[in-house]
């Protein structure tokens, strides 16, 4: 917690790369993409399966049903680098092994969140899980773009604070 995690790419940069590559709509070599083409993540160092697994892990660790996949994708994009490649490969291999012990082909093959959470519980004390979870605390919740989904208004000084903007406007007490 003593350092800010820097995101590898902004959401805008991700989207612009996806558009430039023309690889929308389906998951193709080097990409995973939303079926509705709303976003895409390019993968370079790690595999598509690994990125898709990281994305699902992120959702299952901090599930917010009103927060779209693209924000989770931004939060885990930083693992797609050479010096994280081995950590990710080993971690996801262990996660998929835990899934097989639970009767699924892979972690992603478990259809219900409860089933995947039970698999995650098997590995939650590992450095891999704790690294991914810890990174999400800032990687997900410090994205200014997700704040409005939670109602959080962020910076207020430039608006003159809330003295005339509802600091005491509660009306249901």
């Amino acid at each position: 917690m003593s350092q800010l995690r820097k995101q590898g790419l902004t959401r805008r940069a991700l989207l612009s790369r996806a558009v430039a590559a023309g690889a929308l709509a389906v998951a193709g070599p080097g990409f995973i993409a939303a079926p509705d083409a709303a976003w895409a993540v390019e993968v370079t160092a790690i595999s598509e399966h690994q990125m898709a697994t990281l994305l699902q892990m992120a959702r299952d660790i901090y599930p917010h049903d009103r927060v779209g996949d693209r924000y989770y994708a931004v939060a885990v994009k930083s693992y797609d680098v050479t010096d994280q490649k081995q950590m990710v490969a080993d971690g996801i291999a262990a996660l998929d092994a835990a899934a097989r012990e639970a009767g699924f082909d892979t972690y992603l093959a478990a259809g219900w969140e409860d089933e995947r959470v039970a698999i995650l519980r098997r590995i939650e004390d590992t450095p891999f899980f704790q690294t991914v979870r810890g990174g999400l605390v800032t990687g997900l919740y410090n994205q200014k773009e997700v704040w409005p989904i939670f109602g959080y208004e962020g910076e207020s000084f430039s608006h003159g604070g809330y003295i005339a903007r509802g600091f005491d406007d509660i009306d249901w007490l």
Binding site: Y141, E155, R165, D169, W172
Partner: protein
């Protein structure tokens, strides 16, 4: 404004103050106003209101002390934030940039904790050598300096949404002493500082300057006298002494990393309850093998952090607790000493809010899954309060030198802390009361939240009547070394239930008076 002073490294007539927060910054200005020459050394950089940032993580990166520290003991902070035992500031103005502004006097009985609480097993309680009557005039001066609301004819702040929920619940469960606090945050223009604009982000430095901080009050005023030089990015390594056992100056690393030596007539240590004992311990010598001012063996011991915790609750409808002054709300009914509750001492309940990024980090560190995330989903409908209670001094809750070294090769502080049973009983009581308060206004869910990295860091160089019981005397002066002073919260003999800054400021004003008189009399 007069040009700020520049003093020669060989000027041995200056008072050197280590740290520029509520203790050191006030002491520096008060001495400068009396004509005493002061060099204040500050490890951090210099930021003013225009530099502060309304963004929790970015501000943390700007202001927080993130140099290495290590932790041990059974407190949860050692597990969740092992390298970050405290959330305090490394900057000119110190933690007075970050504090929330709550400015409460100690209650009379709290100055004499050992007498009034009796012997508490496992606690190292001691009476302060001073009392409320002696401190009253110094509190008056401190409240006037800080512009504290609710005293001195100054109006209290208006209540925010978070306060209104808190107040209604408090009254519903029968509490009587409930208001928006005694805050060093202006409710109207005062002393050249403007009124609070209800911006939130009190912890990130007040961009309006409505909250008192030594960074933009005492420090520039001291500099304007021509008697104060502040050197920022000056990291003090050790305090030096002569063969007679008097301190003679300090060695510090300057902003370029070069080791400098500033001579001194007096040295005052005000680096917070971690850095002050660390500096004394790191200054060991053949004459003082256990560190300076440590013939008692008490340096670093009796670390206190207040019994804290938070209670958050969600409601059917929005609260938007982040809007407005963060801590302008208090319930004082539980601050009394009433052992029938199952613990000695008392606690305050104060409004608190965190932004979404810090709420995610601190609501339940390490937690994941829907129990955690559904709470955050209701962030907009959340209200929050903080518990501030007196914790027990314990000899083994202490700051020692770690095997870890900082960027300068200096051993860092290890902070060992474990809760006393009294602390746990008090926290559990406060959790129950806090939850009852919110349920009384229709909370749909209540969350007793564990303590954050410490913001109230006390003890470790405690004040005592007898030299064998503590580190400094009634004036914050070392029992062992007459020209060495401690000027921050580390001199607290006990913690009381109140936020400590007002008492730190009052003690600094009083100490400045003492030092100036002793210098004039030729005694130091």
């Amino acid at each position: 404004m007069a040009q700020a002073a520049k003093f020669d490294l060989n000027d041995d007539n200056v008072v050197v103050i280590v740290g520029t927060g509520a203790g050191g910054g006030v002491l520096a200005n008060e001495l400068a106003q009396k004509g005493v020459k002061v060099v204040a050394l500050e490890a951090g950089g210099r930021y003013m209101p225009e530099d502060y940032v309304n963004d929790e993580w970015e501000s943390f990166g700007q202001l927080a002390w993130t140099d290495p520290r290590t932790t041990s003991g059974d407190w949860r902070v050692a597990k969740d934030f092992s390298g970050l035992p405290a959330w305090i500031v490394k900057a000119v103005g110190g933690t007075s940039v970050h504090w929330a502004g709550a400015s409460l006097r100690f209650q009379d009985h709290e100055w004499k904790a050992r007498t009034n609480y009796g012997a508490v097993e496992g606690a190292n309680l001691l009476d302060w050598p001073i009392d409320g009557a002696e401190m009253a005039p110094w509190y008056d001066k401190a409240e006037a300096k800080l512009g504290v609301t609710g005293v001195g004819g100054r109006a209290r702040l208006p209540g925010s949404n978070n306060y209104k929920v808190f107040e209604k619940g408090a009254l519903a469960v029968g509490y009587k002493e409930v208001h928006t606090g005694n805050m060093a945050i202006n409710s109207a223009d005062y002393d050249g500082r403007m009124a609070c604009q209800q911006t939130g982000f009190c912890f990130q430095g007040c961009k309006w300057g409505a909250k008192w901080s030594s960074a933009y009050t005492d420090i520039p005023r001291g500099e304007a006298t021509g008697n104060l030089e502040v050197r920022d990015h000056a990291h003090v390594a050790r305090i030096l002494h002569d063969d007679s056992g008097k301190v003679t100056g300090v060695e510090y690393f300057d902003k370029d990393g070069n080791l400098q030596m500033q001579k001194a007539r007096i040295v005052a240590v005000a680096g917070n309850s971690f850095e002050s004992p660390r500096l004394l311990l790191n200054s060991h010598s053949s004459m003082f093998p256990d560190g300076l001012a440590n013939r008692s063996g008490q340096v670093g011991r009796n670390y206190m952090r207040h019994t804290t915790g938070s209670v958050y609750a969600t409601f059917e409808h929005p609260v938007r607790m982040w809007r407005g002054t963060t801590m302008a709300g208090i319930i004082r009914d539980e601050a009394r000493h009433d052992p029938s509750r199952g613990f000695v001492g008392g606690y305050e309940l104060e409004t608190l809010s965190l932004g979404l990024p810090f709420m995610a980090a601190f609501l339940d560190p390490g937690a994941w899954g829907r129990e955690f995330t559904t709470a955050l989903d209701s962030y907009e409908n959340m209200a929050g309060m903080w518990i501030v209670g007196e914790d027990m001094p314990q000899a083994d809750n202490r700051v020692t030198l770690s095997d870890t070294a900082d960027a300068f090769g200096l051993k860092v502080a290890n902070v060992n802390f474990s809760d006393h049973p009294n602390d746990i009983a008090m926290r559990d009581h406060a959790y129950a009361r806090g939850q009852a308060i919110y349920k009384a206004v229709g909370a749909t869910r209540v969350m007793p939240t564990p303590p954050y990295p410490s913001t109230h860091n006390l003890g470790t160089n405690r004040m005592s009547e007898r030299p064998e019981d503590g580190v400094v005397n009634r004036h914050g002066q070392s029992h062992d070394i007459p020209n060495l002073f401690v000027s921050d919260g580390s001199q607290f003999t006990s913690g009381a239930a109140e936020n400590p800054t007002l008492t730190i400021v009052a003690l600094a004003i009083r100490q400045a008076d003492h030092i100036a008189k002793e210098m004039a009399a030729g005694n130091v």
